[in-house]
Symmetry: C2
Subunit: 338 residues, 2 copies
């Protein structure tokens, strides 16, 4: 039998907490024997939700936390003062090795700050990046960093490339993943100061498959597997993916409603279209891991429904079983001692 | 009668030159009496293309240029050495006031460099930005800067906001256009160093309607009319718009081809869909003006067909008749002497 993976889950975080979070946890344990979920948050509310479902009781535990960090709270202060919040309690479980991973759909800022302050970085990792999977034409790519560290330095981007490569190879199963740096042209001499400084460092880096510059236009077509950029640009990419997608889909719907002919066509095409577009929906891939921590922290989208929570929990199993953190430790340490 | 606007057009620039460029010029003069087009490039080739069409002869003139700047050439060197290229010859017409504007679908780098070196900046303008219109849900927004100046400073971004506001108000006709700065969160304290420094300057700026931070997610929905950002981010936004759009449309088509039912539906829905999606196609809006020059320079997409060339030429009429450059000069000078 596989080793059990213990995943702490913030039952109070996100727009649909606790209902969808608890449902996601139940679906996860019902789908995999080797998962144990520890729900952190208000005990009475969690119990009420759990009462709606059937699941193996030994696979879900509750650890009470009386406070909730709200979306708008300044993150550093919130993490320091709300010691009994579902986020701080969950992260402390990871710190004390009572959980292997922590999943939250709550405040991004609080999750990022808590990850660094409570869970802590792997020795040698300069900045832990937030690395969501984004859909591409025929698969996925890892976008790293997408919002954890503004004003990054070249050495940070090199570590993002290394950690991202390990993730894509061992969690997603892409052999020798292609690493590209986001740039405004394909040539090596193009770019801003950061990209120009980082490019030769990535070229020298022996343990990644660096393919050079990637223009934003080519990311959705699947030009590379690990998309390296600093957080501001990454955040723009992630959010514009959502924005353009949402506007275009609404345009398609609008187009289908303009004439009687198109209405009938729309009704006929709907089931097939839904299926195809689902593969281009980021929420299918679970949350974004914060890479390079002593333990795994996954940030799920604030608007997560149960499916995304379930997928985020299942993602932790692969991460743990493939010993991703041990692999990252080895790589970062090897680099440092070279 | 309206004053004639003289537009020099690079007949040799872009993937579809000279065929589509010449056709675009012919369509432009056939649609508006007050346009005069001066085609720059190889005379025999241009004459051969012009021979295919009927148009008022006095509205199109050819100025021969024997050289062509290729896409891959280093821009500064190309502009300095190829004095007889269609780009340099066209820009010199603007410099000598023999043309009011210059349109090219050729090398972006050469157009940007030529704009600064040959046409020259309006006194007081620190950096001329490239400012394309991008489609939004129910209209357009101006993206400024989208690739002219990497590693910009806060004072540059303030001028982008001012010049962009004048453009949107007087060329596109949006009263009191809303200016937003691209940021990774809605709060004032969010952002990288550049955004944090620029934010209070935009807030103080009296002659623009600054509405604060705009997240990339909200740009396609039409959150603001003038989208201010530095060129690297702007370039990523412009190209990702294209990339996500193209991939999604191909997914929609794929979805329509999966079953017999969806194929029939697809056939029924196609005409209406095409019409709706056309409004979300950037090429409908012509090229991107380079703002802040002593004359107008418009960069059309390298893959431009005749429609985009026609629209780019027509755009110049509005620019000239509304005296955009005079308005920019006044604003920039007023700011400097305050």
């Amino acid at each position: 039998m596989q080793e059990t993976v213990r995943v702490a889950v913030d039952a109070m975080g996100g727009d649909n907490a606790p209902e969808q979070i608890v449902k996601g946890a139940v679906d996860a344990v019902n789908s995999k024997k080797e998962i144990k979920v520890i729900l952190t948050g208000k005990k009475d509310q969690i119990e009420r939700e759990l009462g709606k479902y059937t699941y193996p009781k030994e696979q879900i535990e509750i650890v009470h936390a009386g406070e909730v960090i709200e979306m708008a709270e300044p993150p550093v202060k919130a993490i320091r003062t709300k010691k009994d919040s579902s986020i701080v309690v969950g992260m402390n479980l990871v710190k004390k090795k009572e959980a292997d991973a922590f999943v939250s759909a709550g405040s991004t800022g609080a999750v990022l700050v808590g990850g660094q302050l409570i869970v802590g970085r792997i020795k040698g990792v300069e900045r832990p990046p937030l690395a969501p999977l984004i859909p591409t034409k025929n698969g996925v790519a890892l976008l790293v960093d997408c919002g954890a560290n503004v004003d990054a330095r070249p050495s940070h981007l090199v570590q993002f490339a290394q950690m991202g490569s390990i993730y894509m190879e061992h969690v997603i199963g892409i052999k020798n993943p292609r690493v590209g740096i986001v740039n405004i042209g394909a040539e090596e001499e193009k770019g801003n100061a950061l990209v120009k400084e980082t490019f030769p460092l990535l070229k020298q880096c022996k343990d990644i498959n660096f393919i050079g510059s990637v223009e934003a236009r080519d990311i959705p077509a699947g030009a590379c597997d690990v998309v390296v950029c600093e957080a501001f640009v990454g955040n723009v990419i992630l959010k514009l993916y959502e924005g353009v997608g949402a506007t275009l889909i609404s345009k398609v719907k609008e187009g289908m409603m303009t004439t009687l002919r198109s209405k009938i066509g729309g009704w006929l095409v709907k089931p097939a279209l839904k299926k195809t577009l689902k593969s281009f929906d980021a929420s299918q891939y679970g949350g974004a891991p914060l890479l390079g921590l002593n333990g795994l922290v996954v940030k799920a989208h604030g608007s997560s429904k149960s499916t995304e929570i379930t997928n985020s929990i299942i993602q932790c199993v692969q991460f743990k079983q493939q010993q991703i953190n041990e692999k990252m430790k080895e790589k970062i340490m090897a680099e440092k001692t070279e």
